[in-house]
């Protein structure tokens, strides 16, 4: 079976080659998005315990002020992205449709610049200090899953980490925010990588870039020249190259066992945006309240990469990108492979939002689900080597034990199976159902 060393570039086994359409937005420099009249900041934007609000309606807030926190360990505080007045604290649906407690802030007409609290000695920070900074700044994985960063920076004592990998694959089609960050801020990315290595005591730092971003890879290679500990690894253009386990395997050849974390094989993976945010937090004292979001798709007039305040409704971004064109049929928050389809453009941007994609009816191909014809294509493309068609069949029959047997719990919902399914079976939908049900059954 093809391993990680075959072919021109390293990669994993399985996966797909979707049309990427990165060209729509990859040439667009990052520019500031308009600041909306109102931002909606969810108190829970991450995996873990929710935050309690630290402000009440009527309070004045400043840019970067902490407005939600919790004592729980697996948690990331949230900060105000604007200067303004708290209008309300209410339950607002997030991009998945779940209602979450949120702070709604009316933004001032005049927004002051963020006052950097420069720390020239950021390179001398200790591991504990870096973890503390990551936590205080509310850092989460900015690739989509939004797992609190400081938790990842605290691996079990008996599992030392020797390698930090920067996930610069951006394997999701259409999205270009990480690509732009690498082109525009390669130095800060490398600084962020060094901080991450320091935090976990790793002696190796590798930036994994897909071969469709050679311009970025070249810039990064210049940056790491002369540094023995750092390197750039060019990876095959294949989805989901940026999935944590796939990336670790492609870069190091190590396999994270089912149900285990990357620390099991001595690795830590962080996304480009997170690394840069860590640098900003350490050197400038800047919490995570804004991020780069790609607004793109055939249904967007002027595809763009925006620096967006967390809490900005996506309607504002679509408008800033010239509005929709053609026959828009799907509005997706995140990338087209793993993102969430929206019924309207009201959802606010969260820390994990990497893109807003509008697909037109020419691109969208939704068809009625057929009976599985057992072609095995889902099995061929599954990077986790599961049997997606059987998981779907078992869910339909409510045979939850068998669904687990075929690997439902090991699925990370990349969607390769549904992408290649000639019967148009929505495997991800079934697998999510299986995961929820199996978890419920196991709790009893």
């Amino acid at each position: 079976m093809a391993g990680n060393g075959h072919g021109q570039y390293k990669t994993f086994v399985g996966g797909i080659h979707p049309p990427y359409h990165k060209e729509l937005a990859s040439g667009q420099a990052i520019k500031a998005a308009p600041i909306p009249d109102k931002v909606i900041i969810h108190l829970q934007q991450h995996i873990g315990a929710p935050n309690e609000p630290l402000v009440k309606p009527g309070d004045r807030v400043e840019v970067g002020q902490k407005i939600g926190a919790s004592d729980a360990f697996v948690n990331a505080p949230v900060h105000s992205s604007v200067a303004g007045t708290v209008a309300d604290i209410a339950e607002v649906p997030n991009f998945t449709g779940a209602r979450v407690k949120s702070v709604i802030i009316e933004a001032d007409k005049e927004q002051p610049e963020f006052q950097k609290k420069e720390n020239p000695n950021w390179e001398a920070l200790s591991a504990d200090e870096i973890r503390q900074i990551a936590r205080e700044a509310g850092l989460v994985g900015m690739g989509g899953a939004a797992f609190p960063t400081h938790v990842k920076l605290t691996p079990p004592k008996d599992k030392p980490i020797d390698t930090v990998i920067i996930n610069a694959c951006e394997c999701e089609p259409y999205l270009t925010c990480d690509h732009r960050l690498m082109l525009e801020r390669p130095e800060d990315l490398v600084r962020g990588l060094k901080l991450l290595m320091k935090a976990v005591g790793a002696e190796r730092g590798i930036i994994g870039v897909e071969a469709n971003k050679m311009d970025a890879a070249q810039k990064l290679e210049e940056m790491v020249k002369g540094e023995d500990r750092l390197s750039v690894e060019i990876l095959e253009v294949k989805y989901p190259e940026g999935a944590e386990k796939m990336l670790i395997y492609a870069v190091t050849g190590r396999k994270v066992p089912p149900g285990k974390l990357p620390s099991e094989v001595g690795c830590l993976v962080q996304n480009v945006g997170t690394a840069i945010a860590l640098f900003e937090a350490a050197a400038w004292g800047k919490p995570l309240y804004e991020r780069v979001v790609t607004v793109t798709g055939q249904g967007i007039r002027n595809p763009s990469n925006f620096l967006v305040k967390v809490g900005t409704p996506i309607s504002v971004l679509i408008e800033a990108a010239g509005g929709m064109v053609g026959n828009p049929q799907k509005l997706i928050m995140g990338g087209p492979m793993t993102g969430w389809a929206q019924s309207d453009a009201s959802a606010p941007v969260v820390k994990g939002t990497s893109g807003v994609v509008v697909l037109t009816s020419e691109v969208v191909d939704v068809q009625e689900e057929h009976e599985c014809v057992r072609c095995g294509k889902c099995v061929d493309v599954c990077p986790m080597f599961l049997l997606p068609n059987y998981i779907a069949t078992c869910v339909k029959k409510q045979e939850w034990d068998k669904a687990e047997m075929y690997g439902a719990l090991d699925c990370f919902e990349c969607g390769c199976c549904s992408y290649s399914c000639p019967a148009y079976i929505p495997h991800v939908k079934y697998t999510r159902e299986a995961k929820a049900k199996i978890a419920a059954l196991k709790r009893r």
């Binding site: 993102g339 389809a341 929206q342 019924s343 057929h370 014809v373 889902c378 068609n389 409510q398 992408y419």
Partner: protein, 383 residues
């Protein structure tokens, strides 16, 4: 803000591989079968076209009527009935009477596919199901008379065969044509049955073929070239290995079929023949091996989905074919081997574990996880 009126909300992923449909795959198979069909027409005359036509029309009617009766949506456009029809026809001798073709394909599509629940739920390859039922039915009489290649020079290229009447004198078979005429041609043994009975092709066929080549080596054995190109008697579809390989290459290139299955079948079969020293190369080019390995055993529905399962299934078919060809009373083994392994495909998927990514000690067999006692009863439901 011009947010579209009708935004579609579905679960991710929001992209689908362009053109990846059931219909596309079936179309690929039909395209891949064209070279073999054309060669069959050249070798066995226009009766092949009549057989294909009757098979396709009957299959379409059967599927449409059966689905209507059972209150299911019509699925003719997925072309699976057409694939079954052509493959079924390929498994017949070129002189099979047309009414037998119709009955056979009705069994294939109506019973083999639709009664099992339609495409995806059939546990047998419908074409093989239809063929095997015919074998073990009284109609077998009509499906075991083989003729020499280019027999049509005696009967006329366009003459449709309506019925066959069993042997009359010394190896000649009388056929009744559709128009009511009677014609008789030399009946021929297939190369496989010659091998089986220990005779050589020389007993039946002598002299140069109509295209100049001879299908015998000086020692009296069928020449490998004749077997490979298809200058031999046999079923419609299996006549030319070359034509089948051209189609198979297309299917492999299009990734419609998985390479593991033909590789496993041909590999294991060849290896066993080699060990037994049973004309290993000749056997590769005889009978239904190529047709079965590339077009029948690779049938999506009736082969396992896991990588490990595919190897087990393929090697199983290869070994079974060898056993049948070497020891059984009938010369042919491929179709029966696939028929035996078809239902096992489901069992293989159920029990043989595919190791997950990163699994260190991957178990050989799946183990059903157990939930706490109070778990819902449907979980206990065993299919």
């Amino acid at each position: 803000m011009s947010v579209a009126n009708r935004l579609m909300v579905t679960v991710s992923p929001h992209l689908h591989q362009e053109g990846e449909t059931i219909q596309r795959a079936m179309k690929d198979v039909l395209i891949a079968l064209v070279p073999a069909a054309l060669w069959a027409i050249v070798v066995f005359g226009f009766n092949v076209v009549y057989i294909l036509a009757v098979s396709c029309i009957t299959a379409a009617l059967t599927e449409w009527v059966m689905r209507r009766i059972m209150g299911r949506k019509p699925t003719l456009f997925d072309l699976s009935a057409m694939v079954t029809a052509v493959l079924f026809a390929f498994l017949l001798p070129p002189t099979t009477p047309l009414w037998v073709v119709a009955i056979g394909v009705f069994i294939a599509v109506g019973v083999g596919k639709e009664l099992f629940g339609g495409l995806g739920k059939n546990i047998f390859n419908p074409a093989i199901f239809g063929r095997v039922v015919l074998w073990f039915s009284p109609l077998a009489l009509y499906t075991q008379k083989f003729v020499e290649p280019f027999y049509w020079k005696e009967t006329g290229f366009f003459t449709p065969i309506a019925t066959s009447i069993s042997e009359t004198v010394a190896g000649r078979v009388v056929y009744k044509t559709l128009a009511g005429g009677v014609t008789d041609v030399v009946s021929a043994a297939t190369p496989l049955s010659l091998f089986k009975s220990g005779r050589m092709l020389a007993d039946v066929v002598t002299g140069p073929t109509p295209v100049g080549a001879t299908w015998l080596t000086p020692s009296g054995r069928p020449s490998l070239g004749a077997l490979f190109l298809g200058l031999k008697s046999g079923c419609i579809g299996e006549v030319s290995v070359l034509a089948l390989l051209i189609g198979a290459a297309y299917l492999l290139y299009r990734r419609t079929i998985d390479w593991r299955i033909p590789a496993g079948i041909v590999g294991s079969f060849f290896l066993l023949n080699l060990i037994a020293w049973y004309y290993p190369v000749h056997h590769l080019f005889m009978g239904g091996l190529a047709l079965g390995a590339f077009f029948m055993a690779t049938d999506w529905v009736t082969s396992p989905v896991s990588r490990r399962g595919k190897w087990i299934y393929a090697i199983g078919i290869g070994v079974t074919t060898f056993i049948l060809r070497y020891w059984s009373a009938r010369p042919e083994g491929m179709a029966l081997a696939i028929f035996i392994w078809n239902p096992l495909a489901f069992l293989i998927d159920r029990y043989v574990a595919q190791p997950k990514f990163g699994e260190v000690k991957a178990p050989l067999f799946y183990k059903l996880p157990s939930f706490p006692e109070s778990s819902s009863s449907p979980a206990k439901k065993e299919a």
